[in-house]
């Protein structure tokens, strides 16, 4: 495993173990690499994002005839 991902790999292992998932050593290595890339990519979002922005997730409230929401 590449040294720079070692901490990340430990976190990944613990997180997946908490969900009852045990990745192999190879899977863990690939996951560390891909997650590292993904986190880097997500940093590019900061260039176009302001703090006021809300996420594009919404819901509508509906009340059924029987009062159920």
């Amino acid at each position: 495993m590449v040294c720079e991902y070692e901490n990340l790999a430990n976190i990944i292992k613990a997180r997946l173990a908490s969900l009852g998932i045990c990745p192999s050593k190879e899977e863990l290595s690939k996951l560390s690499h891909d997650l590292n890339n993904l986190l880097k990519v997500s940093k590019t979002f900061d260039e176009i994002l302001s703090y006021e922005e809300e996420p594009a997730v919404f819901f509508l409230l509906r009340v059924e005839d029987d009062g159920e929401v």
Binding site: R15, L16, K30, S42, T44, I48
Partner: protein, 480 residues
Amino acid sequence: MMEKYELPYLPIKEISEAVKTCEISPVDLTASVIKRIKRLNGLLNAYISVFEQSAIEVATKAEKEIRAGGWLGPLHGVPIALKDVFYVKNTITTAGSPILKDFIPKHDASVVKMLREAGAILIGKTNLHEFAYGVTNVNPHFGATKNPWNLDRIAGGSSGGSAAAVASGMCFASLGTDTGGSTRIPAALCGIIGFKPTYGLVSKHGVFPLAWSLDHVGILARSVWDIGILLETIAGPDPADITTLISKPFEAKLISKPFEAKRIQNFNTRRLRVGVPNDKFLEPLQEDINELFWGSLKKLEDEGWQIHEIDFKHFEQLSACRYIILLTEAASLHARWLETNPELYSEELRHKLMLGLLVPSDVYLKAQKVRKVLIRDFLRAMKGLDIVVCPTTSVAAPRISEEKILINGKELSVRLALLRLTEPFNVLGLPAISIPCGMSKDDLPVGLQMVSWPFYDDLLLAAALTYEEITGNGYRRPPL
């Protein structure tokens, strides 16, 4: 008089007139499609299940109704296929995975119900990429769907079975789904038309999800008109799918009979203002696709369409945004099976799902925030334009075994070469269509993609119809 051997290839527009006037019997029509499935499905692997008995029963009923003067509309008595993610009551829905091999929904998907009410004949469930999570349709559990134009090539995915079935005359149209291009990509690779409506126009209730906020129901057919007929049938608000409730104001405009497919003729599409993304987004493109694309635009320009470059800088962020949303939403759906049945996933899918479980919540939410900004900026960039146009895929159908592909000296994964031009429009939720644009040097179909404004699906179809007329490009029969 229509020749019987031609029946499975005819567009719904022609077939429905002949069914209405009793020139063609729905039973004969269904039998001709079943015969074709029996001949070709072994080659193409397009269907997972075929409803032979129930299809003939429904066709017999339709025939009686039509003879008694009870014609319901253009889909009455017409065989339609469904990607195997649509719930059909009391029928197995696998989503292309052994995990759901015994899953029998207790109700129809809303769109399936609408098709039944329109008198359509459900002919069978089509093959797909495992859980619709991929674009090649090389499914390790159900086998790869082959391209009707070349059996060594992929049909594309994830609605590849639907595209191969429509292209080869094994149904008249099919419903698919589209989370990053899964309707448009296989349509382009198989030489048919694939359409993804505006997010929220068509109900997804009873459709096995991949990623809720990116998923769309799609339509695959052999003509733009046929797409319109299907859209008219399945579009509109559905109380069972909250995302469709925003489509209400558009109901009168779009669904009020005629969207009736006649409506798409009402737009003046002879002077359309067309945006084309810059080279940074378009490249790399396979050389012959580049030539066919610009050749088509030239014909449109000669007819009066105005071509402009669209000024939008954030296509890369759109791709990153979709990737993060897709990974996270899909993983949250599959977490329970990943724990109990990890061996039932392909290695590739298991990896993607595990990766999705690791995305921090703030990163997912940030992606959804960025999405709002990108939608706003893209619509600003579209100001003054009617549609945006680009090729559907960077390459024609790759070989089944191919994983990497070289385009103009640049190596790309097959996945990226197929979806990088379609995925932005799932993040944006805009209506998009892929239409045939000619044949590559290897004699494989090439697709052109058109995109329009939210809930201007009718304008988009009108533009596509005019494109078909001006360029002469459209569905061609594969050599089968």
